[in-house]
Amino acid sequence: MAEKFDHLEEHLEKFVENIRQLGIIVSDFQPSSQAGLNQKLNFIVTGLQDIDKCRQQLHDITVPLEVFEYIDQGRNPQLYTKECLERALAKNEQVKGKIDTMKLPRISGRTEPQAVSCAGVE
C-alpha cells in the first residue's frame, strides 16, 4: 500500500520540478531556449500520463472533504488528523461518563428505575 503512495509521490515531485524549470525558462526566454521549452512541454504530457496510471491503483482510497478545506486555507492537513483524534477522545470520555452514571444506583436509594405511568398524558 505504501508503495502506491511512493510511486505517486515520486511522479508528482518530478512533475512539479518540471513545471518549476519551465517557469524559469519562460521568465527570461531566449531563442536558444526553445528546444528546452518544447522538451519540458512534452515532459508535462508524459508526467500527466504517469500520474493518470497511478490513479487506477488508488481508486479505493477515500479522502475526507474537510481536509481540502484545510489545504485551501493554507493550513497543515495534519492539524485535521490531530483535531479528529482529540474529538474522538473527548467523545469517548463523554460516553464513558454517561455509561458510568447509568450504572450507578439512584440518588434516593432505589435500585430499580420506576415505570413511567401514562396517566399524566392527556
Partner: protein, 261 residues
C-alpha cells in the same frame, strides 16, 4: 387525538407517541355508558360503532382492542407484553467505556499528532514545494474545493504535443512583465539566530528573483554593509586615539618618546 404544545409545536417525537395513544383508543369514539348505569330505565340501544376508515371485512371490532391505523409503527406492533416497550439493543463487547484509541492501536498516532506541536502552515508539511503555498486558494482560484465542485472537462486521454502544435509555443525574448513575476516569488526561509541578529540592522531581505546576477549583487551589498560600518567605526576609533585632544594618547606618546631616548 393529537396534542400540540404551543410553545414547542415542532415536537415530532411527542406527536408520534401521541398518535400511538390515539391508536390505542382507536378511531372510533367510546361507546356511551348504558343507561342502567346512570340510574335510568332501559332506553334506546346504543348505536353501532362506526366502521373503521380502512373498511374491509370484520368491521365489528371490540372497542377495547388496539386498532392500529394503517400507517402505524411496525416496532410498536412487534413489541413485548408492554406497549411502547421496544426490544433492547443487543449487547456488544465494545462500548464507549473502553478506550477506543488503545483498542484500535492508535496510541502512536495520538502521541505523534497530539503530543508534539504540529506546525500551522502548509509549507511546513510540504517544505520542498515551490511557490507561495501558504496563501488561501481563493486568491488565485487554485482551491481544491472549486476543482471538486466544477471539475474540468477533459478529452479522456493525454496525447503528446506534435511539431505543429509546438509552433504555438514560440515566445518573445526577454523577461516577463512585472505582473507575472510574482509567480516565482518564494517566502523567505528562516535563518539562524546569529544571522537573524545581523539582519535586524540591515534592510529586510528582498524576495528571490529568477535572475542570478541581481541576486549576487544583492548578496554583495549585504556583505558590504556591515563591513563598511565596522570599518568606519574602526577608523573613528583610530582617529580618536591619535588626536592630541585625547588624554590617553598624549601620555602614551610621551612615554614612548622617553623610552626611545
Amino acid at each position: 387525538m393529537k396534542t400540540t404544545d404551543a410553545r414547542h409545536p415542532d415536537r415530532a417525537g411527542a406527536e408520534k407517541t401521541m398518535e400511538n395513544f390515539s391508536a390505542l383508543f382507536g378511531a372510533q369514539a367510546d361507546p356511551p355508558p348504558p343507561p342502567t348505569a346512570l340510574g335510568f330505565g332501559p332506553g334506546k340501544p346504543p348505536p353501532p360503532p362506526p366502521p373503521p376508515p380502512g373498511g374491509g371485512p370484520g368491521t365489528a371490532q371490540p372497542p377495547t382492542a388496539a386498532t392500529a391505523p394503517p400507517g402505524a409503527d411496525k416496532s410498536a406492533a412487534g413489541c413485548g407484553p408492554f406497549y411502547l416497550m421496544r426490544e433492547l439493543p443487543g449487547s456488544t463487547e465494545l462500548t464507549g467505556s473502553t478506550n477506543l484509541i488503545t483498542h484500535y492501536n492508535l496510541e502512536h498516532s495520538y502521541n505523534k499528532f497530539c503530543g508534539k506541536k504540529v506546525k500551522e502552515k502548509l509549507s511546513n508539511f510540504l517544505p520542498d514545494l515551490p511557490g507561495m503555498i501558504d496563501l488561501p486558494g481563493s486568491h488565485d482560484n487554485s482551491s481544491l474545493r472549486s476543482l471538486i465542485e466544477k471539475p474540468p472537462i477533459l478529452g479522456g486521454s493525454f496525447n503528446p504535443i506534435t511539431g505543429t502544435m509546438l509552433a504555438g509555443f514560440r515566445l518573445h525574448t526577454g523577461p516577463l512583465p512585472e505582473q507575472c513575476r510574482l509567480m516565482h516569488i518564494q517566502p523567505p526561509k528562516k535563518k539562524n539566530k546569529h544571522k537573524h541578529k545581523q539582519s535586524r540592522t540591515q534592510d529586510p531581505v528582498p524576495p528571490e528573483t529568477p535572475s542570478d546576477s541581481d541576486h549576487k549583487k544583492k548578496k554583495k551589498k549585504k556583505e558590504e554593509d556591515p563591513e563598511r560600518k565596522r570599518k568606519k567605526k574602526e577608523k573613528k576609533k583610530k582617529k580618536n586615539r591619535h588626536s592630541p585632544d585625547h588624554p590617553g594618547v598624549g601620555s602614551s606618546q610621551a612615554s614612548s618618546s622617553s623610552s626611545l631616548r
